[in-house]
């Protein structure tokens, strides 16, 4: 590895090593992990959005052959501590099962344990629960009102978080710029909905005093949370991280499931497994994404230059706090998008309602925020009579302005937004695209062009936690790698978290191979269990290329310097007297060369040939801190993530005016995530993210009725994009390396998803604008489009 772009293995189209096991069906997912004498769990759901639990009668269920136990929230809450709550809201307590009252329809009221899952499901029907219904609240604006029924009466209101930040001279900028505009947009409640539901298997060994956990998990500090809740030492919890996770995209945070089965495994002395069925997953997996209302006000010039923005984001967290409030925090790190907006007022409100809890979803609140910002740009362009492309070009941060400090205290590392935009326009032939749109319009269709230009904050840390909760003073969010060169000269590297399809084994092998100049296919990558692991978090916040790639890079550098040091001692030279090449070291003066095999032999066996004080073996470890992090907030300003990827979407879409069915005719994305480590992986992330974004903007929504009942518990109600709905995507690349990362890489795990909803919404609104229609809520389903078009027709009456 030498200069930028001159890599041996990085950025080359090497295969993804994980694929070989998946393509033959030999992945090991949690449901594939065997355990002798395993028991199975099924859950008793609450039929009410809010109700007091008067009594639970388990007698009939327990009488069914094969049933071992029925656990209630009352019993469980006496044995375990509440699940972690990131905010300082001590009266918003959450246990795996409802305690005393239920807070959403579908919430788990009791758990049935039986010899088989089928018997457990049968027994669920036999558990008799007596309820006393309570008033409920579904709508977040209603929940924000002081007189709304409190989801947690002890907390006193439904407000989990209500903070207003003012960064820069908002009042002055609004006064100085007489042109203002105000609007509201709503991001509907959806999620990433992996095809594998959440599952967990727990086994307690009372003689060894160890809890073994296998789970379909993607969660930072997972074992810490298990230990705290069960009140056992952390070194009694062993999470097996070599479990393949069947998709997550943020949401696989099954801590409540885990605490439940872990408690049951200890209580019953047998391994206990819970694999959600699809309804359990959709209704009470606690894995819905943000549901957010944005009220935006903007001050701009006649030339369309945006100077200041006021944004109020009201988020519906559902029944418990979870990670939801923090999803209002992360977007603070990119609150102005790619634009030179001088000042921002941001009010972040998180309220509880009687819906399923919200959990982390791809982008951690950034995609909804980008949707609001991009809608703002479209509206200002329309107001000023400007082309939407030109509008963005005028407001973009310029290449020479990086590193660029935004009002909320984050410094963007690098970027070249104008060039990426120009590349997209050139690839698409924007003029022809406009002509094609107009041709489609003349043919009787509705047609529109959508544009989104947005950022992907990457290298995730937890800076939003101390920003939103002063009692939290965490300023590190490390990731780690250990490398061992064994006695036969073969290399094994470690990673210390599960993966859910991101190709991390390929990442580690590629980076280690790059540094050591060794074919990555020769490097094994393993995942020790948590007791054998270095401190690490997990693949959240588009962080692994930067953080795991960074840790692997530094651990490999240590190996390389140890090898050089070993050779120097052997040759009796100083460091600059030798040359490293592909594992071997040569003496510059004599030309004598030590192969890695010989160096390994010295390190592992020939201690006598080295100076005193040399340590045997050849290994390294590196615990990496997030670049640029490590500080608490000052004056409500903080450096959020370190590196900022950029993406620019351009869409041509048509609508059948009768059916309202959208057809995406061209989809072009320009993407800049710095140095790409594996092009296959980045391409897949981008295409998959766009598919998620198309789902979020056109199809997917978790719907509740006014009675608080959940209406979308199956894939026939909650619609996922199939291959018919996802168009062919044309990708245009650009590379602006990050100056803060080891190879210039930035994150790409959320790309595509961060701009697709904004672009699709923009295209549909461009298509229906001639009819005087504007859709201000996602998803925009075909039925809404056809209804709106019909209502707009001349002579239409209600």
């Amino acid at each position: 590895m030498t200069a930028q772009g001159n890599f041996r293995y990085v950025s080359t189209t090497r295969r993804v090593r994980e694929d070989r096991r998946f393509v033959v069906g030999r992945g090991t997912y949690v449901a594939d992990v065997p355990a002798r004498e395993m028991l199975h769990v099924a859950l008793v759901p609450s039929p009410h959005p809010a109700a007091k639990i008067i009594a639970i009668d388990s007698a009939e269920a327990l009488a069914l052959p094969g049933v071992h136990y029925v656990l209630t929230g009352e019993e469980l809450s006496g044995a375990v501590d509440p699940l972690m709550n990131g905010l300082d809201t001590p009266h918003v307590r959450r246990f795996p099962l409802a305690v005393g009252q239920t807070r959403y329809a579908g919430e788990w009221v009791a758990a049935v344990v039986a010899e088989t899952r089928a018997v457990a499901e049968d027994a669920v029907e036999l558990v008799q629960v007596e309820y006393d219904p309570l008033p409920h609240v579904i709508n977040p604006e209603r929940a924000y009102e002081p007189q709304s029924p409190p989801v947690h009466p002890g907390h006193g209101s439904n407000v989990l978080l209500d903070r207003t930040f003012v960064w820069g001279e908002v009042d002055r900028h609004f006064a100085e710029n007489p042109r203002h505009l105000k609007f509201r947009v709503t991001w509907g409640r959806n999620s990433t909905v992996p095809i594998e539901t959440f599952g967990v298997l727990a086994k307690w060994d009372p003689w060894r005093e160890i809890l073994d956990v296998w789970a379909s998990i993607q969660m930072p500090k997972y074992s810490d949370q298990i230990a705290r809740s069960l009140r056992i030492p952390l070194n009694c919890v062993r999470v097996h991280q070599d479990v393949d996770v069947g998709g997550s995209y943020g949401v696989k945070r099954g801590i409540k499931h885990t605490v439940l089965v872990s408690h049951l495994a200890r209580r019953l002395g047998r391994p206990v497994r819970l694999i959600e069925d699809r309804l359990e997953n959709m209704r009470a997996g606690d894995a819905h994404g943000p549901e957010r209302i944005f009220d935006v006000e903007v001050a701009f010039t006649d030339a369309g230059i945006v100077h200041s923005m006021k944004m109020r984001a009201l988020d519906n967290a559902g029944a418990y706090a979870g990670r939801a409030p923090f999803q209002l925090g992360k977007p603070i790190g990119a609150i102005v998008g790619p634009y030179q907006i001088k000042s921002v007022q941001y009010q972040a409100i998180s309220v509880t309602t009687n819906k399923a809890p919200e959990e982390a979803v791809r982008g951690f609140g950034q995609s909804p925020t980008n949707y609001a910002i991009e809608t703002m740009m479209d509206k200002v362009a329309a107001e000023c009579g400007l082309d939407r492309i030109e509008m963005r070009r005028r407001n973009f941060i310029r290449k020479e302005q990086f590193p660029y400090l935004i009002p909320s205290g984050t410094r963007y590392d690098s970027g070249d937004y104008h060039t990426v935009l120009d590349k997209v326009l050139a690839h698409a032939n924007y003029g022809e695209l406009l002509e094609e749109r107009d041709r489609l319009r003349k043919s009787g269709l509705l047609a529109g062009i959508g544009i989104a230009a947005c950022l992907e904050p990457s290298g995730g840390n937890s800076a939003f936690e101390p920003l939103l909760n002063e009692k939290n003073t965490t300023t590190t969010w490390m990731e780690s790698c250990r490398i061992n060169v064994d006695g036969l000269g073969f290399i094994t590297a470690t990673m210390h978290t599960t993966s859910s399809g991101q190709g991390h084994e390929t990442l580690v092998a590629t980076v280690v191979g790059e540094v050591l100049e060794i074919d990555p296919d020769r490097i094994r990558v393993v995942r020790p269990d948590t007791l054998a692991s270095l401190p690490s978090n997990s693949p959240v916040g588009s962080r692994m290329a930067i953080m795991l790639g960074g840790a692997a890079f530094h651990a490999a550098q240590i190996i390389k310097s140890k090898v050089i040091d070993l050779a120097c001692r052997y040759f009796g030279r100083e460091g600059d007297g030798v040359t490293y090449s592909a594992g071997a070291v040569s003496d510059n003066a004599t030309g004598k060369r030590l192969e890695l095999a010989e160096l390994v032999n010295i390190a592992h066996r020939h201690h006598h040939s080295l100076p005193e004080g040399t340590r045997p073996g050849l290994n390294s470890e590196y615990v990496m801190q997030v670049p640029g992090g490590g500080k608490l907030a000052e004056n409500s300003r903080i450096q959020m993530y370190p590196a900022y990827s950029f993406e620019c979407h351009l869409i041509l879409l048509s609508l059948d005016p009768i059916l309202g069915k959208p057809e995406i005719r061209r989809y072009i994305i320009g993407h800049d995530c710095g140095t790409i480590i594996n092009p296959h992986i980045v391409k897949g992330m981008t295409l998959g993210g766009i598919a998620h974004g198309i789902g979020a903007s056109l199809l997917e929504e978790f719907v509740y009725d006014e009675e608080g009942q959940f209406l979308t518990g199956s894939f026939m109600d909650y619609l996922l994009p199939s291959s018919h709905e996802v168009p062919h995507v044309e990708m245009v690349h650009h590379c602006t390396p990050s100056p803060l990362t080891v190879l210039g890489q930035k994150g790409s795990g959320e790309c595509g998803y961060l701009g697709a909803p904004a672009a699709v919404s923009g295209a549909i609104n461009d298509a229906v604008r001639p009819l005087g229609i504007w859709f201000d809520k996602l998803p925009i389903r075909a039925s809404r489009i056809s209804d709106a078009v019909a209502e707009s027709a001349p002579g239409h009456s209600q």
Binding site: V16, G489, D521, G688
Partner: protein, 198 residues
Amino acid sequence: MNVELQVNGTDHVVDVEPRKTLLDALREDCALTGTHAGCEHGVCGACTVLVDDAPIRSCLLFAVQADGYQITTIEGVAPGPGELSILQDAFCETHGMQCGFCTPGMVLTGHALLKRNPNPSRAEIVDAISGNICRCTGYGQIIEAIELAAERLRGRNLSDSISAEPTMVHADIVAPEDEPERGIIKAAGYDLPHEGKP
């Protein structure tokens, strides 16, 4: 009740409840865990297996209904240990997956398509896999994989290439034992008998 399932050419006599799905019987009674449960209501396609060469949803078929049919699961596709079919290899070549959970169903659906249509258009591929939901890839690299496999199979100029055993190829990855000198590492056998080799 006893059911005789012919899976990947092997007979399994299993004792199942009449209500047990073929999916659960394959996973629990035949120990074939490559078939995955996604939605269990027939939408996602993760549980796809071939019954007499046609893709079906094993979550919608009772095990007792499968008695007497030829069932192919993902475990029956690779020609041998460490080997891949042409289509599986193409999935690896284009990275037609991420988490791998929908992959067995996708591969089997692709096999069935190529068997009945060795020269599918993009639209025909899109149509064939439209009953298999993938949340990771956005389908692009899956479509590319099937296109690539079709091209390679056509290049072989044999009829019925997709399922004929002799046309299965090995993965395009060199096993260490075939080429021990590949990469830079030589076995450090200095202090070991036979240079550390068995």
